[in-house]
Each structure stands twice: as structure tokens, then as C-alpha cells.
């Protein structure tokens, strides 16, 4: 059923159809409407066999889901920014306990200064937690990948939390025509959650044991292996999903043009505009393409290397910083390209909701294409600034 809905509704609707048993969250802009919609669905009795809990904090919300997931429930939460980093201790713990909690992050900047607007600094701060991270470009993709998230997280070969990242406001609050999913489609695609182990008095087990030095490393190595296995599981799930819905979610990356000399690498909603600009430049005979990164963890290094094989210059659009180093996405891209000699531009844009107008995108790509700028790290779309050091 095609309907014009807002991003937060697209998420809530898909979550409902996935039949979670425990939903727990704490409100924070711009995630709030996602959980408000779920609360309303719960209040109307539309969520069967489901407890909806408003926690006293994001820390509490994530902790509640640790208990719920360990006891065998399918679990969902959503958050943003400060809420996400308040959860961080719990999320590392949940990943280590191999609890397949699914969460949506409505991406928002981190304080200070306080900002409710979009960039990717929040989810990037959770990069190393052992959580699968997928970034969506539009609300149809967000809607469609909710069942994929549950299926991958709960796959016995994976058993890791899954973070679906969507740009705050830009996507969460945008109206888009969405092909809304039907229950039968999801039921056929997503089996009920059947964990290999769970807390039950019928077979008492210990969860969250501590591991002295003779054991700890193996636990972490096993997590690493699970994350590696997740590559294939995500691909399988997306392929199957594409065949069911007819919408192509081919894999971890997507390239719009195979003969690019200059490639823009980006994640999230900014990809659409980059692609649009690139397409126009190609009409002028300029060989510009866009490499969209959908899966950030596990990072699809092979795909990136292959996609950029014949490219001379790479522009990485960064929506986050790793202060004191290169941009976090650039670090991944450089590592994937190790041993090749390409010109790499780290272009930081749109922090804290700073607009990235089309003109700016044209400028960024053209200047690189025409060789007018040196490779390396720079901010674009930034005012002149000066720090006064007293």
C-alpha cells in the first residue's frame, strides 16, 4: 500500500509488523516521534504479546532490553545523540552477551555545543561496540530494512545488536511516499525469535559471567568472527528481501556508475544529492560516480576496494569527526584502498545540521574533478572562524 508518511511513522509501522515482545525507550529529539507512534500503537492494542516500557533514561531503556532479550524476547529501541552515548556502556555489554537488540538511531550531533540537528557523530561514537551499523538513504529503505535488521541480528550465525541509522529530521521527519509493508510479507520473511539459549528455570544458565585472562580473548575473537559472518548474512537477507519486495538492496554498497574517474563516497541521506549532482556532471561528460556505503559495520572493505578500482580521485563526505585524526569514514576507505595510489579528499560537511546546498555539492565535486584543490582533510560549507586563545 503506497502512502505518504513521515519517516518516524515508516519505522514504527515496520517495527509493529515485526512483532517485538518488549519495546523500551526514552524520548529524545528527533527520535521521539518513533517511540510516540509505537506507544500509541501499543495503547490501541495493535501490538500483541508486547510490553511497551518508558524507561527512566536511555541507560535504563537499554538495560531493560538486556534483561528482556536474555529472557528470550524480541526487543526494539530507538534513540539519538546524547541518548545513544548514555546507552553506550549497556550497548557494549549487550553486544558482548550476544543479544540481538534492534535499534534505530535518528542521527543527531553530540554536545557541546548542544545541537538537535543531524550529523553522524553519535553512531560513529559507537563504532567499536560490536553492533552492526547500516545507514539508510531514504525512508523506503529505512522502512524496508527494519525486518532485515531483526532477521540478521537474530540469525544464529550472528547474534549481535543491529543499529539502523537514519538522518535525524532529514529522514525522520520527512514526508515521502512509502510502499508500506503488509503483515504477510513480514511473517514469511521473519521467523519468530528462537534464541539458541535464554534465561529459563527449565534449564538454568549463567549469563554475563566474567572472564579472567585465560578466557577473555576468545570471547572477543568469537564476536569478531560473528561480525565477519554477518557480512554474508546481511547480503543473503537483503537479496531475499529484494526478491520479495522488488526493491533492490543488493548489498553493503551501491555504485551508480562503473567508469568514474572521481568517486564520491558517502552514507545516509546526502547520497541522494551527491548522486543527483554526479548524474548531471556525467551529462556534461565528466566521469563522476557515487559509492554509497550502506553497511558500515562490518565494513565492506573488499566491495569498496573493488568499486574504487579504476577511480583516480576519491571524495569522502564526512558527517562526523574523529578529532585529532582523519574522518572516521575516510579512515575506513583509506584502509580499504591500502596499497593503491589514489588522491583522497576528506570533506567534512553538514555537522550539527549545517545545510549542504546543491551548489556546495557541485563545488566540492567540480573542484576535485578539475584538480583545483589539494587532497587531504578540509571542512566545506563552514564560515570563517577564529579561536581566541586568551
Amino acid at each position: 500500500m503506497r502512502k505518504v508518511v513521515r519517516g518516524f511513522y515508516a519505522i514504527a509501522h515496520a517495527v509493529k509488523l515485526c512483532k517485538p515482545n518488549v519495546i523500551c525507550a526514552y524520548p529524545i529529539t528527533p527520535q521521539t516521534e518513533i517511540v510516540e507512534n509505537l506507544a500509541a500503537m501499543h495503547a490501541e492494542g495493535e501490538l500483541e504479546n508486547c510490553e511497551y516500557i518508558t524507561a527512566e533514561s536511555e541507560f535504563g531503556a537499554a538495560s531493560i532490553l538486556v534483561g528482556a532479550s536474555a529472557a528470550g524476547a524480541r526487543t526494539f529501541t530507538a534513540t539519538s545523540s546524547q541518548g545513544l552515548i548514555l546507552m553506550s556502556e549497556v550497548l557494549y555489554n549487550a553486544a558482548g552477551m550476544r543479544l540481538p537488540i534492534v535499534m534505530v538511531v535518528a542521527n543527531r550531533a553530540l554536545s557541546a555545543p548542544l545541537s538537535i540537528w543531524n550529523d553522524h557523530q553519535d553512531s560513529m561514537a559507537m563504532r567499536d561496540a560490536g553492533i552492526i551499523q547500516v545507514y539508510v538513504e531514504n525512508n523506503q529503505e529505512a522502512h524496508d530494512l527494519v525486518p532485515v535488521a531483526f532477521r540478521v541480528a537474530e540469525d544464529k550465525r550472528v547474534m549481535l545488536p543491529f543499529m539502523l541509522c537514519m538522518d535525524g529530521f532529514k529522514l525522520t521527519h520527512a514526508y515521502e511516499p512509502i510502499e508500506l509493508l503488509e503483515q504477510e510479507i513480514i511473517d514469511a520473511f521473519l521467523p519468530p525469535y528462537d534464541p539458541p539459549v535464554k534465561m529459563t528455570t527449565k534449564k538454568p544458565l549463567t549469563f554475563g559471567a566474567y572472564a579472567p585472562p585465560p578466557y577473555y580473548m576468545e570471547f572477543r575473537a568469537i564476536m569478531h568472527d560473528a561480525m565477519e559472518r554477518a557480512r554474508k548474512v546481511i547480503e543473503e537477507a537483503m537479496k531475499e528481501w529484494s526478491s520479495i519486495t522488488g526493491r533492490d538492496y543488493g548489498g553493503h554498497t551501491f555504485t551508480d556508475y562503473d567508469e568514474a574517474e572521481v568517486a564520491v563516497v558517502a552514507m545516509g541521506s546526502i547520497v541522494s544529492m551527491a548522486r543527483d549532482v554526479a548524474e548531471e556532471m556525467r551529462k556534461e561528460g565528466k566521469k563522476v560516480g557515487v559509492l554509497k556505503i550502506r553497511t558500515f559495520r562490518p565494513f565492506p572493505a573488499d566491495e569498496v576496494r573493488k568499486a574504487l578500482e579504476n577511480v583516480d580521485k576519491v571524495i569522502v563526505l564526512e558527517r562526523a569527526l574523529s578529532l585529532g585524526s582523519d574522518g572516521p569514514l575516510t579512515l575506513e576507505v583509506k584502509s580499504a584502498l591500502y596499497g593503491t595510489s589514489k588522491e583522497i579528499h576528506t570533506v567534512v560537511v553538514g555537522l550539527g545540521g549545517r545545510d549542504v546546498p546543491r551548489d556546495l555539492m557541485v563545488k566540492i565535486i567540480s573542484e576535485v574533478y578539475e584538480g583545483k584543490v589539494k587532497p587531504g582533510f578540509r571542512f566545506e560549507g563552514i564560515h570563517e572562524y577564529e579561536e581566541v586563545i586568551p
Partner: protein, 292 residues
């Protein structure tokens, strides 16, 4: 010996925690889901490959055992498995009164069907006797050390029992490992109530308090007999029962044998602190009408 909490755990001889845990699990006949905070109990019982737990057990973090328990309860409800067992928290005094008080308050406030047991050994014992909100005044801990100018902890012991009562939860009690049958009775009584329950159990710590294992239980009894640890019971906000004291003893009798209070008997500020502690005991006795 209990099949729910096996021997071979790493507790010190005389440790109060294991007395409280065994009695709780046996009172509930092992039909429990345990959520445990980081701390001594967790460390002595849950090493990988050596778990002492014969009941489903989870340890997540230091400050979230109440929330994790709430999640277990929600899951059991959603999945129609409530009859499998009671959800019980074992958390230290630090986990309860300090770092985890937010998640605990949330659990109380939402009134989850959870029995929260605070194992009160009156400091962060797992990490080597640092002060907590439940450390009593005058106690020498590594973060409130007695020195030339400082006489140990200055503040009072946080009144967690009243904080629990103030949440309007159906059952709140204090108990002591000196009275194991009372622990069992209270645990059984608590789970008759649907909703959040809180029991705070006084558990001597041989290393932190500087006592001998054989003296742990007698000292726990002295804490009650001096009115420093009032044993009370609230149902639906009403005080329904207290453990009465015949011939209440002066607080010195309880304090003197413990290394953590030894300095009070020679420190220039000591007399003042001792008087203050006696005053607290007197107030407890009056407030709960403890004296016979």
C-alpha cells in the same frame, strides 16, 4: 547445601552475602531469575566455567540490575511465562544506593513485579572497601580514611528503606543475616505482593569491616541489638512489624570489635562521632518504637 547456589564459590569464610543469597533462593525453592550487579557476589560466584548458580542468572553491569530485572519481567509477561519463577535482584549497597539508584527508582516507579534485594555490606567491598551511601558515619574506608584531621566517613547512612517506601511500592523490609529465618519469611511474604519489593539485608564483610569470620553473625546481631540496624517491615506503606529489642546495648559494643571503627576510640574527634552514632541508634529506637 543448596543446589541453587553451589559450594565452591569464592566467598571469604564468614561472608554475609552467601547467607542472604542461599536463604533467599531456598525460600523461593529455586524458582527464580536472578539479576546481579557487579560486585563481590558476582565475582565470587560467576567466573566463566565455574558458575555457582543453579538458577537462571544474569550479570550485566554495576548500575543496572534493577532495570535488567524489569526487562526479564517484561519479557516473561509478554511471552506468557510469568509462572516460570520470580524475578529477584541481588545488588550491593553501592549498586543500590549510589550508582544504580536511577535504574532502581525507575523499576520501583513502574512497579515491576520484581523482588530487589540489597546486600548491604556497607561499602564497595569488591573493589577494596571504598565508602558508599550506605557506609555508616565514622567508618574508616579507603576513600574516607581516618587520619590526623579526618575521623572517617562524615555523612550519615542513606535511608534507602524510606526511599523505597516513598516510591509507594507494596513491600519494603530490612533484615539481617543474624536472623536467617526472618529473611526466609520476608522473602516469601514479599513475593505474595504483585509489584516491586525491596528487602535490604545487613551482610557483614569480614575483610572490609576488619573482623573474623566467626564474629560476622554475632556482630550482625549486635547491629540489631544496638538499634543501629533497625529490622522493619512495611506493607503497602504501613509499618507492620519491627524486631523489638530487649535491653538495648550501647553502640560501642557493636563498634569496638571492628577495625573500621577502631580509630574512633582514640581519635580526637572520636568521642563526638561516637555520640552521634549513639544518637542515631536512639533515634532509630524511638522512630520505630524498638525498645521493649
Amino acid at each position: 547445601m543448596s543446589e541453587y547456589f553451589a559450594p565452591g564459590h569464592g566467598a571469604c569464610p564468614g561472608c554475609g552475602l552467601t547467607i542472604a543469597v542461599r536463604n533467599t533462593l531456598e525460600a523461593l525453592e529455586g524458582k527464580v531469575f536472578v539479576s546481579n550487579s557487579t560486585g563481590c557476589l558476582e565475582i565470587i560466584s560467576s567466573m566463566y566455567n565455574r558458575s555457582a548458580w543453579g538458577v537462571p542468572y544474569i550479570h550485566s553491569l554495576f548500575e543496572n540490575a534493577g532495570a535488567v530485572a524489569a526487562g526479564i519481567e517484561a519479557a516473561l509477561k509478554a511471552l506468557g511465562r510469568k509462572d516460570e519463577g520470580h524475578v529477584v535482584v541481588f545488588a550491593g549497597d553501592g549498586a543500590t544506593a549510589d550508582i544504580g539508584i536511577g535504574t532502581l527508582s525507575g523499576m520501583f516507579d513502574r512497579n515491576h513485579d520484581v523482588l530487589y534485594i540489597c546486600l548491604d555490606n556497607e561499602a564497595y567491598q569488591n573493589t577494596g572497601n571504598q565508602q558508599s551511601g550506605l557506609t555508616p558515619p565514622g567508618a574508616n574506608t579507603t576513600t574516607t580514611p581516618a587520619g590526623k584531621i579526618m575521623p572517617g566517613k562524615l555523612g550519615r547512612k542513606k535511608d534507602m528503606v524510606s526511599i523505597a517506601v516513598a516510591h509507594g511500592i507494596p513491600y519494603v523490609a530490612s533484615a539481617s543475616v543474624a536472623f536467617p529465618m526472618d529473611i526466609r519469611r520476608k522473602v516469601k511474604r514479599a513475593v505474595e505482593f504483585e509489584g516491586a519489593k525491596y528487602i535490604q539485608i545487613h551482610c557483614p564483610c569480614v575483610t572490609g569491616w576488619g573482623i573474623q569470620g566467626k564474629d560476622a553473625v554475632p556482630l550482625a546481631r549486635l547491629a540489631v541489638e544496638t538499634a543501629l540496624y533497625p529490622i522493619v517491615e512495611f506493607e503497602n506503606g504501613e509499618l507492620v512489624k519491627v524486631r523489638k529489642i530487649k535491653d538495648r546495648k550501647p553502640v560501642e559494643e557493636y563498634l569496638k570489635p571492628q577495625r573500621r571503627f577502631r580509630h574512633l576510640f582514640r581519635h580526637p574527634e572520636g568521642k563526638k562521632i561516637l555520640e552521634m552514632i549513639q544518637k542515631i541508634a536512639d533515634e532509630n529506637a524511638k522512630r520505630y518504637n524498638l525498645d521493649i
